[in-house]
């Protein structure tokens, strides 16, 4: 055993630094005890208890007591001690550690702090798994923020509770299962690039809202706000809680001259509540389902009410020689392969018969992304069609596949090569990141007939299929 005991007069270090030095020395090979501490009564006592012969010292002195198995190890430790005592603390000023917030509650506070003066956040977008969405959405409501809940699988009682709290707070809950909103031009979720304008939209259907706003944009009419409410809002249980609030808010919004409500036919009690609102702003209702106007017709009514001309909705007929064009053979039934539920339902009603699949349905999205993001399943289905007519939707805009025709156009070309007529309903605007006309041209060149109106696409597909049956 080799001991090194030393008292250095007038050397001061804070106790924590010294404990760190002690720890480092004790970790060196061969060192069994290392005490580097101010020579307080306590520390001197500890060293003496450990068997060191400590000379007289005062608390202002530095005590060093090292015990190691060999003299070399002691020397090594002494050298390390010098290095450590000499080393300047590289402790800079407190770096501002910008840790991201962990909850919407904390994010709302952070936004209010960072954006002092501008009033902080205006809305929250929650897309966490459905069983946790309630927690984050409630944070938003309690912080006085409107919230869009993109998540699905949120229990209806949580939806009702959130919407009741939101009404008390004067904020809006959009969703759950709300795919689309546009607030002052900013697209949340799946939304198209729209100019500002006089039409306010309240929608219980995401793709339905995208269809009507895209057509309005193509007609040169802008949108003030598009407020989603979630597919269940106008059910008997939820009673249109958010739709009522959204309608009132748009009624009070000076930029909104006309309101378009897009929904499945509401439950009678919800419909009554909406009817009784006594809005000062003109309301046009686009109800989805049999016996109702299709979305394109509803948009045309809006244009009429605004005194605007109804344009010819852009479309690109299939190139000559493609299946379905005059003189080209086409045999078999109509298949609808959709990514948007509302568009699928609208097409099915117009087509009257045929086999329609909504790949955005829960049954197809479990464990994989929505077909607007990941087209794999739909492409497989398209490749499996051997004859007849295929009707597809392609939805552009924020959040959607950045270049859907890249994978779809080759599959369309293959289908056309097999004699399958392909009709595409292309929902989007010229401003969309994917480029409406670029996508249309590529799909068209591959052999598809492309329509910007889903209703027009469905009618065309229906007529083709009818012709197929006759031929």
């Amino acid at each position: 055993m080799n001991d090194l005991v030393e008292v250095r007069a007038g050397v001061y270090r804070d106790s924590v630094s010294l404990m760190r030095v002690s720890q480092a020395l004790a970790a060196l090979p061969g060192v069994s005890v290392a005490i580097v501490a101010m020579a307080t009564e306590l520390n001197v006592g500890l060293a003496r208890d450990a068997g060191f012969a400590v000379p007289a010292a005062t608390p202002g002195d530095l005590l060093v007591a090292i015990r190691a198995s060999t003299d070399d190890a002691v020397q090594e430790a002494a050298a390390e001690l010098e290095r450590r005592l000499a080393a300047r603390e590289a402790a800079g000023a407190a770096r501002h550690e910008d840790r991201p917030p962990r909850t919407v509650r904390s994010a709302a506070r952070a936004a209010a702090r960072d954006a002092a003066g501008s009033g902080g956040a205006t809305v929250a977008l929650v897309s966490v798994p459905g069983e946790y969405a309630f927690l984050e959405a409630l944070d938003a409501v309690e912080a006085g923020l409107s919230v869009m809940i993109f998540s699905d699988n949120v229990p209806v009682e949580q939806e009702i509770l959130l919407k009741d709290r939101a009404r008390e707070q004067g904020v809006l809950v959009m969703g759950p299962d709300c795919g689309t909103a546009v607030i002052g031009g900013a697209g949340l979720g799946f939304a198209n690039v729209l100019g500002p304008g006089p039409v306010g939209v309240v929608a219980a259907s995401g793709t339905g809202a995208q269809q009507v706003t895209s057509l309005l944009d193509l007609a040169g009419v802008g949108v003030s706000h598009l407020l989603g409410v979630g597919g269940r809002d106008l059910s008997a249980e939820v009673g249109g809680r958010s739709a009522i609030q959204a309608l009132r808010a748009l009624d009070a919004d000076p930029a909104t001259e006309l309101i378009l409500l897009v929904s499945k036919p509401p439950a009678p009690e919800a419909a009554g509540a909406v009817r009784d609102l006594g809005l000062g702003t003109k309301l046009v209702t686009a109800l989805l389902g049999p016996g109702q106007d299709d979305l394109t017709t509803a948009v045309e009514k809006v244009l009429g009410a605004l005194g605007r001309e109804v344009p010819a909705w852009p479309c690109w007929p299939a190139p000559p020689g493609a299946p379905g064009t005059p003189g080209s053979e086409c045999r078999g039934p109509l298949r609808g392969l959709y990514s948007g539920g509302t568009l699928c339902a609208e097409a099915a009603v117009i087509a009257g018969n045929g086999e329609f699949t909504d790949f955005g349905d829960d049954a197809y999205t479990r464990g994989r992304a929505h077909p607007m993001i990941d087209p794999t399943l739909r492409l497989e289905a398209l490749d499996a069609v051997e004859s007849g007519v295929v009707l597809l939707d392609v939805v552009l805009g924020h959040g959607a596949d950045p270049d859907p025709s890249a994978r779809l156009a080759p599959a369309v070309a293959r289908a056309c090569g097999r004699g399958v007529a392909v009709v595409v309903a292309l929902v989007g605007t010229d401003g969309d990141p994917q480029g409406l006309r670029v996508q249309a041209a590529r799909l068209n060149e591959a052999g598809a007939a492309v329509f910007t109106s889903n209703a027009a696409a469905a009618r065309h597909a229906r007529d083709l299929a009818a012709a197929c049956v006759h031929s």
Binding site: G184, A186, L194, P254
Partner: protein, 285 residues
């Protein structure tokens, strides 16, 4: 997309004609840490485009760029059109449109009267002062508008155009504030004479703005002539109409630039006072 770097941006709808027309060459007029000004060779107004970062003052001719401005290659060839702004190898594509002249809705005259007193009080207690002596040409402009005198208004506006130093001379900022306030608050309060006055003053100041003042200021006058304003001015107008608290909005405006904020605020006050005095007047002569 041709190997170009694509950056998203949020553009004022005022820029839609310039952005959606075929490509035209442009040049960098001035570059600051929070804003880069491009001049487009075009007869359209606004012919100057402000590229700004999220935290900069939002002018009515601004595109908010979704990336740090320092990443833009400013020395290279520029163009504007086909939905994009090109700077060398970087393309800024509009992914959002915002409205620099959102409708205010209607506002009760009594509310506007109270708001004017409140705004006067805030400005009088502020350290921020307009860049010109307000008893000269500005005084004539204010009294002319108050009295509904187009002649006085135009004489004063002619004198103010381009008056003062800097990118946006004080005289221009005052005119901008006045034009926007006359139009929006005139509409909100139902004062057709104020809107008529705004139309004629706008025609007078935009007629030769491009030769009388800096390109940036000329573009902003053209915007103001159509009721388009920056977010700080719009915030004060909304506050006057009762949609948000006035104090923070007014202080945010006043803190703009060296004297720009105070100049704009002076114009808004003059415009609001004129709207209140002209409320019972019929539209034209």
């Amino acid at each position: 997309m041709g190997g170009r770097t694509q950056i998203g941006g949020a553009a004022s709808i005022a820029l839609r004609p310039a952005l959606e027309s075929p490509r035209r060459p442009a040049r960098v007029l001035a570059a600051f840490p929070l804003a880069v000004y491009l001049e487009v060779r075009s007869e359209y107004e606004p012919h100057v485009i402000a590229l700004v970062s999220g935290e900069a003052a939002r002018l009515p001719n601004a595109v908010v760029v979704a990336a740090p401005l320092a990443r833009l290659p400013l020395g290279d060839e520029c163009w504007v059109g086909e939905g994009s702004i090109g700077l060398g190898g970087v393309g800024i594509r509009v992914r959002r449109w915002w409205d620099p002249a959102p409708p205010l809705g209607s506002a009760e005259p009594s509310r506007l009267t109270r708001a004017l007193a409140h705004l006067d009080d805030i400005c009088d207690h502020s350290q921020r002062r307009p860049g010109l002596d307000v008893t000269g040409a500005p005084g004539l402009l204010a009294s002319g508008c108050l009295a509904g005198s187009l002649v006085d208004g135009i004489v004063a506006a002619e004198r103010l155009l381009g008056l003062g130093p800097g990118l946006t001379p004080s005289g221009d900022d005052m005119l901008c504030g006045l034009l926007v306030a006359l139009r929006h608050l005139g509409l909100a309060a139902g004062a057709p004479r104020a809107i008529w006055l705004a139309d004629w003053l706008a025609a007078a100041v935009t007629y030769d703005a491009r030769t009388r003042t800096t390109p940036i200021s000329a573009t902003l006058l053209h915007c103001a002539a159509r009721g388009q304003a920056g977010s700080e001015v719009l915030g004060v107008l909304r506050a006057i109409a009762g949609y948000q608290p006035l104090d923070p909005a007014a202080h945010r405006l006043l803190s703009l630039g060296h004297t720009s904020g105070a100049d704009l605020a002076w114009g808004i006050r003059a415009g609001l006072a004129a709207v209140l005095s002209l409320r019972s007047w019929p539209a034209g002569r």
